[in-house]
Subunit: 505 residues, 2 copies
Amino acid sequence: MQRIYSSSLQKINQISQKCWKSTSTRVELTQVRYPKLKRGNYSVISDKHISTFEKIIPGRVLTSATDDLESFNTDWLRTARGNSSVVLKPKSTEEVSEILKFCNQERLAVCPQGGNTGLVAGSVPVFDEVILNLSLMRKIESIDTASGVIVCEAGCILEELDNVLREKDLMMPLDLGAKGSCQIGGNVSTNAGGLRLLRYGSMHANTLGLIAVKADGTVVDALNCLKKDNTGYALHHLFVGSEGTLGVVTKVAIQCPRVPQAVSLMFLGLSDFASVMETTQRAKGFLGEILSSCELMDLECADAVVQNMKLKLPLERMPFYMLLETSGSNAAHDEEKLNAFLEAVMNQGLVMDGTVITEPSRLKAVWHLRECIAEALLRDGYVYKYDVTLPAQKFYDLVPFFNDKLKEAGALRCCAFGHLGDGNVHFNVTSTEFSYKLLGLIEPSIYEWTSKHRGSISAEHGIGLKKRDFLKFSKTAEAIEMMRDIKQVMDPNGILNPYKVLPAI
Amino acid sequence: MQRIYSSSLQKINQISQKCWKSTSTRVELTQVRYPKLKRGNYSVISDKHISTFEKIIPGRVLTSATDDLESFNTDWLRTARGNSSVVLKPKSTEEVSEILKFCNQERLAVCPQGGNTGLVAGSVPVFDEVILNLSLMRKIESIDTASGVIVCEAGCILEELDNVLREKDLMMPLDLGAKGSCQIGGNVSTNAGGLRLLRYGSMHANTLGLIAVKADGTVVDALNCLKKDNTGYALHHLFVGSEGTLGVVTKVAIQCPRVPQAVSLMFLGLSDFASVMETTQRAKGFLGEILSSCELMDLECADAVVQNMKLKLPLERMPFYMLLETSGSNAAHDEEKLNAFLEAVMNQGLVMDGTVITEPSRLKAVWHLRECIAEALLRDGYVYKYDVTLPAQKFYDLVPFFNDKLKEAGALRCCAFGHLGDGNVHFNVTSTEFSYKLLGLIEPSIYEWTSKHRGSISAEHGIGLKKRDFLKFSKTAEAIEMMRDIKQVMDPNGILNPYKVLPAI
C-alpha cells in the first residue's frame, strides 16, 4: 500500500492543478454516460408550456433559448448533466402549487432543485425535466427565541439562517461543508446529516413540521411548530429524506438549539486506526454530554487539502487525524473534562500529538480543513464518492480493501474521512478524469461489501440517481415495494424527480 | 376558584377511596356510551375462524367462551370497553403475518394491543375486533454496547428493557409512568413521550428501525440498526405514531444513551405560574446540556397523590411544584451548576422552597410522586384526560379557563401537570363517575381553545378513538386527506385498528 501511495502522490502533485482548471469543460450528458437509462413517457416542453409558466411566474422563467442553464443542469461534483431547457423560479408555495398542477396535467416531468450541492445526482435533471429552482423562496417567517423554533422558506441558505439565528443566541442544529450554498429545503428533503448530528440529531429529529406541495398541486400544510405533536401520521417525516420524489418542500419549521457558552476543538494526530477507535470511545466517556462532534480524516485526505487547497495542517503528517469538538454551558468545566480526556489518551499512547483550540477564528480555520476535503478531492479531477455507515470496528476497512487494486488501475487517491461518532464514513476515490474501469472496480463491489457487513449504502447523501439501482443492498424487496406504493399514491403520474431514489423497474 | 376548590377537597376526601374500590364494576360498553359509532362492514367471528387461529397459534387463542377477556377489552383509564370475543397471542412476526393475512382475507377487524396503557382508547376494541395481543413477544435479540443499540420484540416491557440495559451501562431513552406495564411496540406505535424527551428526544428520534406487518400479512423489514441510514423513504417513521392503523410493529431497534455518571433531582415549591415559567427559562440557561427533565405538578395534583396514594410530599403545600433533573458525566461539575442555578432562582424569589436529592432510593421515591399522578387521579372515580402542547406562556391557562364552571358542574379536581420543558401539559378533570354534562362542558371547547392558541390537541398520547373527531383542530383537511390516502394503500380493507386515528367519514 505504501509503495503505491508514494508513487501516486507524485502523480497527483503534477496533475491536480491542471485538472481542476480543466473542469470548466462540459460534463458528459447523463443520458450519454448511462446509456441504459430510458426517458420516461413524459411530454416534451413546448412554447405553449413556456407561455403558461410565464403567466404563473412572469419574468422568472429561464429558457435555454435566452439563458445559460449549464449550472442548473450540472451537479456540484461535475459527474452528471441533464438537458433541461427550462428553469422555473417560484417565489411562493402558491406558485409552486400552480406550476405542479399544470405540469401534472400536462405530464411534464419536474426536477426540484435547492442549492444543488447534492452528491448523488439527485438535484439535476437526467433528461429534459423542468427544473423547479427554489432559490427565490428565501423569507424567514419567524424565530421564536423562547422555544427555539425557526420557520422559513425552503430556499433559505443554511449558513445565512445560522448567522441570523446566532444574533438571537440560537443556531441551526445542522452544519455541513456545503453550508454556504445548500438550502434548508434541500437539507430537509435529503435528510442532510453533517458535522454535529452526533449531538443535535438528524433532520428527522429537528424538523418539527413543513409545507409541501404534492405532484397534483395540493398543498399539504403540516407546519407544526411545537416540539411535541402526536396528532396522526408523521406526514412531515415522509417528505424528510424523500428527495423531492413525493412532494416539493416549500416551508419548514426547525427546532434550533441555543448557542453553547463555550466551544473547544481538538485536532489530534494518531498512528493507527485502532487508536482512533479507542480514542472515540474514550471521548464519548470523558466528554459525554458536551461532545458535539467527532470527526476523522486520513492522511490522503489531509494531503489533498494541503496540496489542492494550499492550506496548512496544525500538526505534522500522521496516518490519521481526529477533530473533536465540545460545546458546553461552562468553559471551566469543559476545560477540566477536556484535560482529563487528553491526559488519559496521551498517557495511554493513543494520541501522538494534538492541539486544543478555543479562539473563534482559529477554530473556524481548523474546521475549514475538515470541511473543504470534498472540494480538495474534487480538484484532483473526478471523484467517486461513497457515503456509508458501517459498524465501528469496520469503519476504515474500505480503504485497505480497495486501495491497491484501484491505485493500480489509475486512481490518484483512495481515502476516507467522516463522522466517527455516527459510524458514517466517506470513502472517496479520485482520478484525473472519469473512468469506466475504476467505476466497475468499485461498484457494485462496495455496496455488496457494505451490505455483507450490515452497513447502510447511504448514510447521509441519499440515493438520488447514482444509488437507486443499489437500493436493494440496504432495503428489502417488501420495503422497496412499500416505497413504490407510497410514490404511486402521492404522485400517480410519476412527474416528481423521476429516475431518482426508486430503482428502475 | 379558591372557594370551590376547598369545598371539593372535602368531597374528595369522603369519596375517593370508596370510588376506587368500586371500579371493579364493569365499564360501560363503548358502543353504548358513544351511540353514534357505527360498526364497520366487517365479518363476525365464527367457529371456523377460531379453528384457523388455533392452527396458527395452537393454545394461544383466548375466547370469551372459556376465558375472561374483560381486561383485554377495557382500557387502563376504565373509560372504554370493547366487546371482543377473541384474543390472539402470537409469539413471532411470522405468526402475526399469518394471522393478519387470514383476517384480511376474511375481512375480520383487528385491534393490536401492547401493554394496554394508552390513554385515548386506542388499544382496546370498539366493537368486536379481534384483539392481537403482543405480550408473548418478549425476546431481546441483541444489545450492542458500543453503539448503544438494542433490538427487541414489540412485547418487551419498557422497565424490564431499562433494567437489562442498565447492567450494561445503557438506558432506555424514554421513561414514563406506565413503564412497569407498557410495551416497547406500543411506545413506538404511539410515539410515546414521557419524562426525558427534553434530553433524549422522541421515538422518532430514537427508533432506528423496525419490522412491521401490513394488513395483508406482508412483513416489512425496515430493521435498520445504524444511527445513520438515508436509503429511501423513512418507512419506519410512518409506523411510529400511527397507532397500529398502518401495520403491527413486531420488532424494533432503539438507540439508547449511556447511563449518566451523576443524576440529581430538585423538588421545588413555587407560588405562581409566572415564577414557574421564569424558573424554567433559568434552568435551561444554567443547566444547559445536563438538564434531563423539567416537570410541573400543581397543588391539586399533589393533593391527589397525598390523599389517594397515601404518599408524602417533601415540601409544604404550595401552589406549584417543579421537578428538575440533571444528568451529567461529572458530579462535581453538575453540583456546581445546580448551586449556581438555585442561588439565582432563590435570590430572585422565584422559588419559595426546594430540596436537592442525589441519593438513588430517595430520587426514585420523589420521582414516584410525579409518576403516580395519573393513577392518583383515576382513584377519584373517573378522569377526563387531555394532553396538549401549548406555547410556553399559555401552558397553565386551561386550569383557570375551565376550573370554576367544571367545579360547579360537579368536577372534583381540575388540575394540570406535565412536561414544562416541552410545552406539554396534561390537563385533567376528575369526577366520581362519568358524566355527559362534564364531557360536554370540556369537549370540543378544549380543542377549540387549543387550536385557537396554536397548540396541538395531542402532545404525546396520540389520537386513538377519543380524539379522532377532533383531529381537524390540529391537522388541515389536506393533511387528513393524505393520511387517508396512506391508510388506503397500506390497509385497503381497513381491518387494522378501525375507528381509531382517522376521523369518521
